[in-house]
């Protein structure tokens, strides 16, 4: 199972600043292992963020997004909003984590 994310969300003046760190290798398929075999692509492809069940952000990543991806966006919201972040990778592995807006 995938490792947990770190989700930080803080409200200021009606805008919620959401910062997400995902634990993922984001293998681009360009590297070779010790035996000289190409390490296949493995990367988060889609990410969905909901606040109180409603979409506030959708993203699609290619393998060129850095290892342990970082994402920062802002939406109009309030303290106490429940943020739900879900990512799915190209091997159909997925992970959902939650945070409450502070």
């Amino acid at each position: 199972m995938a490792d947990p994310m770190r989700v930080r969300a803080a409200e200021n003046g009606g805008t919620v600043d959401v910062k997400i760190l995902m634990k993922h290798d984001m293998e681009a398929g360009q590297r070779k292992d010790a035996a000289g075999k190409t390490i296949p692509q493995w990367f988060i492809s889609t990410i969905n963020v909901k606040a109180n069940g409603k979409d506030v952000f959708n993203g699609q990543f290619g393998p060129a997004v850095s290892k342990d991806p970082f994402l920062n966006f802002k939406y109009k919201g309030a303290k106490g909003d429940k943020i739900t972040v879900t990512w799915i990778d190209n091997k159909a592995d997925k992970r959902t984590d939650e945070a409450t807006v502070s």
């Binding site: 805008t15 984001m26 681009a28 360009q30 492809s45 889609t46 969905n48 979409d55 506030v56 952000f57 959708n58 993203g59 699609q60 990543f61 290619g62 393998p63 060129a64 997004v65 850095s66 290892k67 991806p69 970082f70 994402l71 920062n72 966006f73 802002k74 939406y75 109009k76 919201g77 879900t86 799915i88 190209n90």
Partner: protein, 150 residues
């Protein structure tokens, strides 16, 4: 309310209904654009995003460093005074130009920051779709060799 907006609303309503009733999954709702991510060149990606040739716009700000100390992690942000529906980050000299794209629902700021990999010094493109039209901003990011190199 103009027609375009009306039809968009209708579309979202249907989509929303389908999603809430479980007819489509999250992945399908925003299906990963395989074709766009697998195209090599900028122009090919522009075509797939049906962006034609995006126009350079002062309203789009690409926030990226002039020099990246390491190509494995290059911070890239897009912000715009336009009301963005969709945004994309492209790297001209990467094996596949499209690095990431984002869909911005109403109520979400026209702003995003992430980090990307760059194989070499290249132009980086920030694309913003607003009112159905694509706009862009370009900046060269130098990728340097760092450290002892061993």
């Amino acid at each position: 309310m103009n027609d375009q907006r009306r039809s968009l609303l209708k579309y979202s309503a249907v989509f929303g209904l389908m999603a809430s009733t479980g007819l489509i999954s999250l992945a399908q709702a925003q299906e990963w654009n395989k074709a766009a991510f697998e195209r090599k060149s900028l122009d090919d990606v522009f075509k797939i995003l049906s962006s034609g040739s995006p126009e350079k716009s002062a309203a789009v700000t690409l926030n990226a460093p002039d020099i990246a100390e390491n190509g494995a992690v290059v911070p890239v942000g897009i912000s715009t005074t336009l009301k963005a529906e969709q945004m994309a980050i492209l790297v001209e000299k990467n094996p596949s130009a499209l690095a990431a794209q984002f869909f911005i629902p109403a109520g979400t700021d026209s702003f995003v920051t992430t980090r990307i990999k760059m194989g070499q010094t290249s132009n980086v493109y920030a694309l913003v779709k607003a009112d159905g039209k694509w706009n862009m901003s370009v900046k060269e990011v130098k990728v340097t060799l760092g450290g002892c190199g061993g």
